[in-house]
Every structure is written in structure tokens, then in C-alpha cells.
């Protein structure tokens, strides 16, 4: 990928800042999401809550479905490829969607290697639980990062943990004298040049969204107040009792994330949120965030 193509891809993510990206499984949901003010849709066959329930191997969605969703909306369309499955990524690039999510929500195709994203023209967003993981993905060519959270649970606790971890590690790194950075980089598995850049910037060098377990307007605003640049909502909208109202409320809450009066207003009368799962009592093989490294 040429340097200017990578920059254009990082800049598209900049244009999504302050926005909400919504999981949709059909054309009708995609139109509801766009109508509610989503900045992009994630086209997939099953939302994470259903992938979790149904089990089995979760793969890239049928390109026919993604194509139909792409034709139905004017906002950017994203779709997921399995971790390490570079051929699924090639197919999604040929389909000319706008962004690929190399996602732990799908069953990994490679337990050692993520996709070499520098070999693609199309942009990638990748999940991360900490600074090292985020910077390894950026080193591989990701133009945007998101927290992993714990998808399909409706429980924001893991997304909060991942964002707080990244913030803490960035603060630690920023406080280090230069000669200690290489050892910090070694211990945390961080590429050295990117560690230097993070020290200088005081944040990740690309746009960083929240994802994984966001189910309410308050969850979205919480992640924004923790410093995220925007929000992905997976199962949280279309597994709730009134998706259109909830989608509008989360869009508004993300825009006015630090205004409690407005947040109060948008949080009322939304119907039932998606049923949640307790992550603490979940067996480790049920946790999606542990996929990838």
C-alpha cells in the first residue's frame, strides 16, 4: 500500500469521529441505521449475540448480502473478515466495501498471524485490549483501532477495561525518559518507532473507537468520556425492543457525551435494552476478546 493510500484510509476514519457504527444483518436494518444517523454500517449475517448463542464456526458473511446492503445505503459499509483470513479480505476488497474489520467476533482462521494489511488498498480496523495489541495491529497496517470489549454481551465492562488499560499504558509511556522506551516496548510487545510516536502524541496515532458490549446511550457516552473517538454498537441496537429509538438515542448521546442534562433526556423511554450477560462468570472459551494477540 502506498503511503498516501494509508493516509487516505486513516483520514476516512477521522471523518467518522464522533459517530456511531452499527451492526446490521439485512437491508431493512441498514436503512433504519442510516435513518437514525449512523456514520457507517457493519454488514454481517449474524450479530455477535446470535453468533455466541448458535456457536459453530463464524465466517465472513455472504458477499451477496453485503452487496445488497451496500446498494441500499449512502453511508460507508464495513464488513468482517476472520483474523488471519487474508482471502476473505481479498474478497471484501474486490467487493469494494469501505472498511474491513479483522474481527475476533468471527472464528480465527490463523492463531499465529493476523492479516498483513499493508498488502491491501482497502482500510482495516482491528480490535485491541491494550496499547501493545493496538500498536501491533497498526504496524501490520490497520488504519483504525477499536477496543475489543466483549461482543454480544450487552455488558460494557470489558470495553471499559480495554480503554482504561490503553489510557494507563499511554500515560506510563509518555512519562518515560527516551532511554527507557525500548525496554517498555520490549516488555509490552510494542514496535519501538510506534512507541516513540505515542510518547510524542500522548494518544494512539490513529482514530480509536469503542466496541464490544455497548447497549445504552449512557454506555456510549461513558466510552466517549474515557477518550474514545466514536462508538461501534453491535447487538445492542437490533436486539433491543425498539431499535430505531435506541439507535437515535445512541447517536445523540455520542454527540453530546459530556452533557448530563442531554444524556438524561435521551435515556428515557427507550424500551428494553438487549438482555445482558455477566462476563465475570463466563468460561474463558466463551470470551471472544482472547482471540488474536
Amino acid at each position: 500500500m502506498a503511503e498516501n493510500r494509508y493516509l487516505l484510509n486513516a483520514q476516512l476514519a477521522q471523518m467518522l469521529k464522533g459517530g456511531v457504527i452499527m451492526d446490521v444483518v439485512n437491508v431493512e436494518q441498514a436503512q433504519i441505521a442510516q435513518e437514525a444517523g449512523a456514520v457507517a454500517v457493519m454488514a454481517l449475517e449474524r450479530v455477535p449475540a446470535d453468533i455466541r448463542k448458535q456457536g459453530g464456526v463464524a465466517r465472513m458473511s455472504d458477499p451477496g448480502l453485503i452487496k445488497a446492503i451496500k446498494a441500499a445505503v449512502t453511508i460507508p459499509v464495513m464488513a468482517k473478515a476472520r483474523i488471519g483470513h487474508f482471502v476473505e479480505a481479498q474478497i471484501l476488497q474486490a467487493l469494494k466495501i469501505d472498511y474491513i474489520d479483522e474481527s475476533e467476533v468471527l472464528t480465527p482462521a490463523d492463531e499465529e498471524c493476523h492479516i498483513d494489511k499493508t498488502r491491501f488498498e482497502i482500510p482495516f480496523v482491528c480490535g485491541a485490549r491494550n496499547l501493545g495489541e493496538a500498536l501491533r495491529r497498526i504496524a501490520e497496517g490497520a488504519a483504525m483501532i477499536r477496543t475489543k470489549g466483549e461482543a454480544g454481551t450487552g455488558n460494557v465492562v470489558e470495553a471499559v477495561r480495554h480503554m482504561r488499560t490503553m489510557n494507563r499504558e499511554i500515560r506510563q509511556l509518555a512519562a518515560l525518559p527516551t532511554e527507557e522506551i525500548i525496554s517498555f516496548a520490549k516488555v509490552n510487545g510494542i514496535p519501538y518507532e510506534l512507541a516513540l510516536e505515542v510518547k510524542k502524541l500522548g494518544r494512539l496515532p490513529v482514530v480509536n473507537f469503542a466496541a464490544g458490549g455497548i447497549a445504552t446511550p449512557a454506555d456510549a457516552a461513558l466510552m466517549m468520556q474515557l477518550g474514545c473517538d466514536g462508538v461501534f454498537v453491535g447487538s445492542g441496537i437490533f436486539k433491543s425492543s425498539d431499535p430505531a429509538s435506541r439507535a437515535r438515542a445512541i447517536v445523540k448521546a455520542t454527540a453530546c457525551f459530556n452533557d448530563p442534562e442531554q444524556l438524561l433526556e435521551v435515556s428515557m423511554d427507550l424500551g428494553d435494552p438487549m438482555p445482558g450477560l455477566d462476563v465475570a462468570t463466563m468460561a474463558s472459551e466463551q470470551r471472544l476478546a482472547g482471540r488474536g494477540w
Partner: protein, 221 residues
């Protein structure tokens, strides 16, 4: 970094999209600037930038927060407007296949006219009214201006479309000057707002600008 504007500054609509990038460019041009999230924050401004982002999202939020009415009123009282990319779509009188939003400048736009993200691109071009040197341009899932009406001047025509145009009170660009080192369009808009800014009519390439400069204005914990 906190952006501030006294009376006579330029605002950047802060609902979604490329807000920090414009604030950073305005700082480099040397004009006072602030983000505008609430109607009261329009008070005292001479200009407002409606940034790139997603136009459907921006239109919903403008309506929800009552900023659509407030911006229209401020425009009636002399506020100058500049729309980049999605902002240009919102200001256009006609948006092919969709309902226009503000409809304040007599242009016809075609949304996503180049295709998907794989069709986003950079190029250089000369816009003689804005700068005497070629300017770097960044097009991201850009619209095209396909027609202009009476009273609208074309500032930049490329291939089969118009990339920048203006009338007496509104500037529209389908590309993103705030994503390049060039300050030329920000200077041009500041002067259109009646502000005096340093710098000539060159391309205004700021050697200190980097693609991460916007992060000075991003929300830090």
C-alpha cells in the same frame, strides 16, 4: 488544546466528523476559533465551518439540537458559511436523489460521486482566485458539484465536475483542505469573513503540519 474565540472568530460545527482538523488549521492561520455544539456558541461569530463527516448523521444532529434553525438565523444576520465535503452537501440547494437540507447556495451536488473508499484520492490543482500556486487536494468519498446557478462563482473545475465554488456568503469545497498542509482555503475563508490574516496568496503549505496535528484538539483523558 482548548480552542477559544472572542467576538469575530470562526466556529467549527462540532457534532460529528473533521472538527479538530479545521480547528487546527484555523489556529495555524491565526484566527480565533471555537467548536460549536450549542446554539449559544454561535453568538459573535463571523463565520462557521460545516466540516466533513456523514451528511445524514450531521443533518439528524443539526435538527435534534436546533442548530439548523439557529444557523439559518445567523446566516440571515450575516454569518458566512463554508461547507467541506458533507458540509457542502448540506448547504446545496439540490442534492440528487435526496432531500436538500439547508439549500442555501445554488448548486447541485451528487453524493459519493466517485465510488467507495478505494476511489478516494489526492491530487494537486490550481484555483487562481484562492492561491497563485497549485494546492494539494484530498477527496474522501467525495461528492461532485455538477451544476451551479446564478450568482455562484466556480473556484475550481476539474475533469467533468466542480470541486469548489462560492457565492457572496457561502464557500463550498468537495475536498478537504484541513487534511493537507495547505492553509490557502482557510486564509481565503477568513478573508471572506472580513478578517485580516497573515500570509500571501501562495499555497500556504505549513511545514509544521503533520497528519496527526488534529490530535492537539482531540479529547484527552
Amino acid at each position: 488544546m482548548q480552542a477559544v474565540a472572542g467576538p469575530g472568530g470562526i466556529g467549527v460545527l462540532d457534532l460529528q466528523g473533521g472538527v479538530q482538523e479545521h480547528l487546527d488549521h484555523l489556529r495555524r492561520v491565526g484566527v480565533s476559533a471555537r467548536p460549536v455544539k450549542r446554539t449559544a456558541e454561535l453568538d459573535g461569530l463571523v463565520g462557521l465551518i460545516i466540516p466533513g463527516g456523514e451528511s445524514t448523521c450531521l443533518s439528524r444532529l443539526l435538527t435534534i439540537f436546533g442548530l439548523d434553525v439557529a444557523i439559518r438565523q445567523a446566516y440571515d444576520h450575516g454569518l458566512k458559511l463554508w461547507g467541506t465535503c458533507a458540509g457542502a452537501i448540506l448547504l446545496a440547494r439540490e442534492n440528487i436523489g435526496e432531500t436538500p437540507f439547508f439549500g442555501l447556495i445554488d448548486i447541485v451536488v451528487s453524493r459519493n460521486a466517485f465510488g467507495s473508499q478505494l476511489d478516494s484520492f489526492n491530487r494537486e490543482a490550481l484555483a487562481p482566485a484562492v492561491a497563485r500556486e497549485p494546492i494539494p487536494l484530498t477527496f474522501i468519498r467525495a461528492p461532485k458539484i455538477v451544476r451551479t446557478g446564478e450568482g455562484v462563482r466556480v473556484l475550481l473545475r476539474l475533469d467533468d465536475y466542480i470541486a469548489a465554488a462560492e457565492d457572496d456568503r457561502i464557500l463550498v469545497t468537495v475536498f478537504h483542505p484541513e487534511l493537507t498542509p495547505s492553509l490557502a482555503f482557510h486564509r481565503y475563508f477568513a478573508r471572506k469573513c472580513g478578517l485580516s490574516v497573515a500570509g500571501g496568496d501562495d499555497a500556504g503549505l505549513d511545514p509544521d503540519w503533520t497528519p496527526q496535528s488534529w490530535m492537539d484538539f482531540s479529547y484527552h483523558v
